[in-house]
């Protein structure tokens, strides 16, 4: 009996200790300021790294960064569940989002390139050929001068920002044929690297020696070509807030947009800074030359 009592006492103390611990940690996170940013996995590395630097410099602040996808980011910010919604797309492009309520803060530009398996042996396609490949009119690489390999399409998941950008600017608004879908860029690269005849698309920062990136109409997928819009497949990375940001949210967004981050972290992580762009694109895809853009 007394042994049982002991166990009960230990159990009670444990529960109490856990409760106190939970209460304490709750207090701590409320003592400082904290904000949450949710959404695009393409933008996540940048926001995470910037958040770490920011909280390192400003003690007592907390910036939680979560993935979940562009759709999640936009719907969460629309509902006011988080402070920042990360998105690869303009809010107006996503269905079900009331873009007028959201304020756009552009923090980076990301270029997207088609990648193919190295065995295909192609380095350049025309836009027309790319469309033929993705709509299923070309089913063997031989037809385009490559090796005798069947075309294996690999798409990102429906609603992915990378896919939306690629279909809009790479395939000039043609829709890709239904094919394999993968939900991350890393997975896409691995599959393209190992599957003969595979083609897909990833952000520049994901391209490495295991896959072959494609030039389009003789234009190579380089940052310089993105800056001038000669390489057309690129998109802004957005931080969306519901209404004008306040407090820590505003300070953090300003921090990400500051030259300190734009000149270092943004470029180290394989993005371009919006300041580097010599053109500007609006939600409808209309491109205007920026004044004072010195070549």
């Amino acid at each position: 009996m007394s042994k049982k009592r002991w166990w009960q006492a230990i159990g009670a103390v444990l529960v109490l200790a856990l409760g106190i611990f939970a209460y304490q940690t709750r207090q701590v996170s409320h003592a400082g300021e904290s904000i949450t940013a949710v959404g695009s996995t393409a933008l996540q590395p940048l926001v995470e790294a910037a958040g770490e630097q920011y909280t390192g410099e400003h003690l007592g602040t907390f910036i939680n960064v979560q993935g979940g996808g562009t759709g999640t980011g936009l719907s969460q910010i629309q509902e006011g569940a988080v402070q920042i919604g990360n998105s690869d797309l303009f809010a107006g492009e996503q269905k079900g989002i009331r873009a007028t309520e959201l304020v756009d803060h552009r923090v980076a530009v990301v270029g997207i390139t088609p990648i193919i398996n190295r065995k295909i042996g192609l380095k350049n396609l025309t836009t027309q050929q790319l469309i033929q490949v993705f709509t299923g009119q070309v089913t063997n690489w031989r037809e385009l001068g490559g090796d005798n390999l069947p075309v294996v399409l690999i798409n990102r998941a429906q609603g992915s920002g990378t896919r939306a950008t690629f279909e809009q600017f790479g395939l000039t608004n043609h829709r890709s044929k239904t094919a394999q879908e993968q939900d991350s860029s890393g997975m896409v690269r691995q599959i393209v690297a190992t599957t003969p005849g595979a083609i897909s698309y990833v952000a520049f920062s994901y391209v490495n020696a295991t896959v072959q990136s494609l030039s389009l109409n003789g234009v190579a997928p380089t940052e310089d070509n993105v800056k001038t819009n000669r390489w057309r497949i690129w998109s802004y990375e957005h931080l969306y807030t519901k209404g004008q940001p306040r407090g820590l949210t505003r300070r953090f967004i300003q921090y990400v947009q500051s030259p300190a981050i734009q000149k270092t972290l943004v470029r180290q992580l394989g993005y371009l800074s919006p300041d580097q762009m010599k053109v500007e694109r609006d939600v409808h895809g209309n491109v205007t030359r920026l004044e004072g853009g010195n070549s």
Partner: protein
């Protein structure tokens, strides 16, 4: 006078045992209540979200179940959204049935060995092995599938290697321990005197196993298989990693295909709550929920039939 009052109080007071009894009942009843509330809550939530596709987005249920194009973000020539879930439903069933068909002989064979042929070795080696297999997280199976099964399928059958065949291979290993351990239980519940009577009549051990033990254990074995199928049907992560996630009617076993679960896990992060794309995914979740209900009913039905015999 005083003593009778004392006595009365003593008799009317709840004894320690009675208090414990009430306490126990309250605890177990509230646990039950909580679980029922959670289950009802989940079913209600999924159903309300899943039905929204048909009520607020006006997709016809028939189209949803029979159309073959899955593109919830896009409307077709008639202005109707393309939400045909048939490829996923077919994919889910195909992969479930195939993995059950492959796993069942192995599971029953293992169970027979463990229970009838060599109970000692079975208990010492196979029992821990199957228990270990049950405990491996599904992402590990998926990862092995991605780095071993998919390249192997590609090397042997061509194509990309992603598809129903790879999914079947992974699920086969995943449901094998479940089906095996339940088959062992089924064989164990066959009374000893069945075997003794059979052997006394001059049947060999194999004849006894084949004609008596397996026949007597059939309901239990079927329950084991259906349990395995239920697990295969609901498995998401491992399947998603190897099946290729193409919402197409599977033309062959090595073409990329999709299951209800794989479409759900890839799509849910890229849709907006309340939009048609999101509701359509909830409808898929509802189909999954209903199917697991059906599997449960089948298990019950088999159990009842088994008892009647």
């Amino acid at each position: 006078m005083k003593t009778t009052q004392q006595l009365e109080r003593q008799l009317k007071r709840h004894s320690k045992a009675a208090k414990l009894e009430i306490w126990g009942k309250v605890v177990s009843f509230s646990a039950l209540l909580l679980i029922v509330a959670v289950v009802v809550g989940i079913i209600g939530f999924v159903a309300s979200k899943g039905i929204a596709t048909f009520t607020s987005n006006h997709v016809s249920l028939w189209d949803f179940l029979t159309e073959k194009k899955w593109n919830p973000g896009i409307t077709d020539a008639n202005g109707k959204p393309e939400v045909g879930a048939l490829p996923m439903i077919v994919g889910s069933f195909l992969i479930t049935i195939l993995s059950a068909v492959v796993a069942t002989p192995f599971a029953i064979g293992t169970a027979v060995f463990m229970n009838e042929i060599s109970p000692n070795k079975g208990a010492k080696i196979l029992q821990p092995v199957t228990e270990l297999l049950v405990g491996i997280p599904s992402v590990v199976y998926g990862f092995i599938g991605l780095s071993v099964v998919v390249p192997a399928t590609r090397a042997i059958f061509g194509g990309s290697g992603f598809g129903i065949l790879s999914g079947t291979c992974v699920l086969f290993v995943m449901i094998l321990p479940t089906v095996t351990s339940m088959s062992v239980d089924a064989l164990r519940s066959v009374p000893r005197y069945y075997r003794e009577a059979s052997l006394a009549l001059g049947a060999t051990q194999w004849q006894t196993i084949y004609k008596v033990v397996l026949r007597a254990a059939t309901p239990g074995l079927m329950t084991a298989v259906v349990f395995g199928m239920a697990r295969a049907f609901g498995e998401a992560l491992a399947v998603q990693m190897v099946i290729g996630n193409a919402a197409l009617m599977p033309g062959s076993l090595v073409d990329p295909a999709a299951t209800l679960t794989s479409v759900l896990t890839t799509g849910i992060g890229n849709t907006v709550m309340g939009s048609l794309q999101n509701n359509a995914l909830w409808s898929l979740a509802l189909v999954l929920l209903l199917m697991s209900l059906v599997f449960n009913l089948i298990i019950r039905l088999i159990g009842r039939k088994g008892r009647l015999q």
